[in-house]
Symmetry: C2
Amino acid sequence: MDMNNNSKKFYTLRILPNGVLVTVNVGETILEALLRNGIPIESVCGGKGICGKCAIRVLDGLLSEPTLQERKWQKAIGSNIRLACQTKLLSDATIELSEISATKNVKILTLGKRIQTNLSPSTIRKATFLTKPSLEDQKADLERVLSELNTAKFDPLVLEKISKTVWSSNFNVDAILFEDELLDVVSHSNDSHLYGVSFDIGTTTVVGYLYDLSNGELLSVKSSFNEQIKFGEDVISRVEYASRSYENLKNVREAIISTMNKIIKELLEEAKIDASQVYDVVCSGNTIMTAFLLGNDSFYSSRAPYIPPFTSQVKIKARDLKIEISPSGYIRTLPCVSAYIGGDVVADILVSELFKYEDPVALIDLGTNGEVVIKNQNGIFAASCAAGPALEGYSIRHGMRAMDGAIESITISEDGNEVFFKTVGNKKPIGICGSGIVEALAWLRIRGIVSKTGKLLENFARVKKEDNELQFILVDEKRSGTGKNIVITQNDIRKIQLAKAAVLSTFLILSRISKTKVEDIKKLFVAGAFGNYIDPFYAMVIGLLPEVQKEKIVQIGNGSGMGASSLLLSKELWKESIEVARKIKVVELNLIPSFRQEFINATFIPHKDETLFQGTLKSISSFGEEE
Amino acid sequence: MDMNNNSKKFYTLRILPNGVLVTVNVGETILEALLRNGIPIESVCGGKGICGKCAIRVLDGLLSEPTLQERKWQKAIGSNIRLACQTKLLSDATIELSEISATKNVKILTLGKRIQTNLSPSTIRKATFLTKPSLEDQKADLERVLSELNTAKFDPLVLEKISKTVWSSNFNVDAILFEDELLDVVSHSNDSHLYGVSFDIGTTTVVGYLYDLSNGELLSVKSSFNEQIKFGEDVISRVEYASRSYENLKNVREAIISTMNKIIKELLEEAKIDASQVYDVVCSGNTIMTAFLLGNDSFYSSRAPYIPPFTSQVKIKARDLKIEISPSGYIRTLPCVSAYIGGDVVADILVSELFKYEDPVALIDLGTNGEVVIKNQNGIFAASCAAGPALEGYSIRHGMRAMDGAIESITISEDGNEVFFKTVGNKKPIGICGSGIVEALAWLRIRGIVSKTGKLLENFARVKKEDNELQFILVDEKRSGTGKNIVITQNDIRKIQLAKAAVLSTFLILSRISKTKVEDIKKLFVAGAFGNYIDPFYAMVIGLLPEVQKEKIVQIGNGSGMGASSLLLSKELWKESIEVARKIKVVELNLIPSFRQEFINATFIPHKDETLFQGTLKSISSFGEEE
């Protein structure tokens, strides 16, 4: 430091990867400076150095000494990180911000990237300029178009309007084609768009993506609870309900169609597009969700020998399903593999490109139905488990979807008396969504408020008994948006334990059966409806994910939705998906004698066998240390 | 004759082609003997020798001398015939009965014959015995069936019920296939039938045929007026109506679908078959009927340059058309050629096999829309004309379909005072159908009650004036089933003249354009909704058909319906129909300058140029001769 610096009122901070420059006042923390300059950065605990969300990497410059809190985080996670809320500048500096936080992964595959390199949708719009008919050339309207397109296949609905379109547009039309089938003929337009929707049909959550198929642009994303949830939270109870009568099956089917139509309506409203311009819908879902959509109750999937009704790719006219897009358009579903390894897993595998790796790699899809895939030199192994909807915020007392007011991130102070949190949209808290639930349980465990077996301990101020059940108060009624306490109950914790035990035990069994050592795994892809939002560090703290090094983890977000999107945008991938599905070897956990015991061991937090989480447990212990 | 014969009370009559033996009492006419023995034989005039319907050929035996009436018929038609009502036996004898009458054709192609030689329906039912699944063989229900069938194509509706069917039938199922597409899976049955319907969709009349596709058996035939008739009697007025609004088009479309569903219901009721067992419907109709069915108003067909909306074969799911058969079944329409040469003409050509002849041959389809086809060494030429519905019993004062009580055959006595007739079902007369109308006009002309220009002459007892219009009383109110006179009016005669002139002038122009002399034509195929019933002799008397020798005429009956039936029963023919349609050269009569004058000349009875009907006119003259 020279004299000049003493009189300096501010420093210049360069922020990578974009190279944005901001001023940081002397004495101001980096977090304060970033927020003042409108640079988005996560923070849950409000600058107390507890949550670790504002972690940055410093590339250049002089900084204040790490505080006690920072040193705890450095011990837990790595010495190369600093917390923006604790750090002040002593000179101009350069930091790296993007995709860095103390706990989170370093890579999230983005959909946009994938799509731009590979735009070849099955459904296209093709300008078609026709010669005009005369007494000497009386070729029919349809055949005039077909011969120009060099095809003979057409949807018979085309016959209804072809003449009006062809003549009123003076024989300059655009043909809508699905592969070599003429779906529709519309007046020619120079900026000729056409649209498609991809769906991730989860047991609990359904997500829809609207794309412009002419350029691959993602125009809107909407999601909703799967309306089928009223007929059962997990697939098995829904199968039981649907199998009881034709009327029930019809209800289950109509519930998903209604959910999809609602999402399509929202997507189209946001993008200001008419339903008649949407010609293709690709749906990814597990085998039973796919079967329900197509009107099969999956009864024989639910009992040994677990035979699915069908596993082929299906292509059905929108009018047959009453999906509200162009009636000539197609609804397509991904190929499935078995009763419990569905199109969603195929989608995950396509998106992660797991099948292309030489070294052992693994994938965990965190959904209501969880799936684990391990690829090694012996092949692609897959197994599924019933995790239940708890991780998606359903069935938990104050659980909710990741909507405005949902607590998505949480930190608990060392004494357990203070709770810091961040809500979606920074609204008043009204509940807690999946990622918040994982973090809440992690911090309850870190702070010793919950035992290894998952028991809430009474000797903490925020642990109260109500209706004979212990609960931890996350937000008291005064700060809550509902006017009532927001809590996590003992029963909630049990549900989370069961969910995470299902995933972890499935992973451990599959790694054993496929002869893959966890430490040999080079990549662990994490997918799922809330896969983008959970923090792998906390997921390991509670033993939801197995312990692997942070840099091996790749969160692919909603692999099911992304896979459906990729198939919507690439006819080659649509064909490839059949091959991928064919390669998957299904492991039936029901046939593994030790499954029950493995499951029970995995209900411990993180696991009964602590050697499986040595590194994580060591990190946690640093949070309790005084220096 | 020897002494023995004198004491004989009866002779033995052998009747060919069946060889049935009956006794004929001495003094009894052959007609009386046949009717007494329950042998069906036509007779209209009640044994007076006037109508010529009971003509027979005598092969062997002694008979009474020909009466005056018989000699008139022999002069008109040929010396080898006798009238059963006039002839008595003088010894045992042998006669030939089948398909002989004084005027009628000698050959009617029957559907049954055609079908037995050529049963290869596109839609089949195939017994499929599956291996049962197990934990070691978890192949899905659908793929288990598909792999056994060696196909990958399926109707997505199959997915709804495949599991229930496969499991409840203990894995012994029958697959319903349309070509290589799996339409349905049902429990296996040893006597495994499945059914199809063919339709002749005429502008005025719709006929449906129900077949068992497993053996080609015709189970039922039903017909009905086309409900579209309320929107216009001819295709042009219907096109005008349909083009005015989407609502109108919808009405026109729903009318034909309702007509078809009504006929299907009747067919199924008669055969006691469930609609769910019908998987294929083949429809033959003119281009505009076909377009209406598929929802196109044909507006551009109705004005130069007369461009049809489409001419390809169409295959559409029953559920898309709301045709009440199995929803996975197909409705198929024949290929068309131009706006006015439709699938019905292609059907006629397929049924007549006209395209296979080396020598010149011709075909006339007598429908509301009439069509003429001439095949010679230069190719297949076709032209159409608007005949109107008069020949089908519609738009005539007392016209009706060939139902119970319809006068189907008629004779008028020499003085014009007596009318002999036969009704369908031998019920009391309530109206007159197509064949009756042709015979009525023929006899009115033969007896000189109607002039060459078509004028009713007042100096006959049965010609009366009512509401300022002359009419001929066919049946007076006392004998009529309606309690009122059944008449043929001057206006009716004008309509028949216009109808027959349209057909005849089209034939004459096409023969000129195709450079075919009428006398060189080796076969004249006659088709049409009432083609089976009209008497070619009387059709020539009125100049509806051109004059060709009786033995050259082949009535193919309802060629359109038969063609549709053949396509239903033969997948090879279904493919061949595309080739046939492609070969047809359409002649646009609208482009022929002399058409108007040719048409006017043809309104004369039989034609302004009497040399065209020399033979017929000579025959007629014999009826007036006294011997």
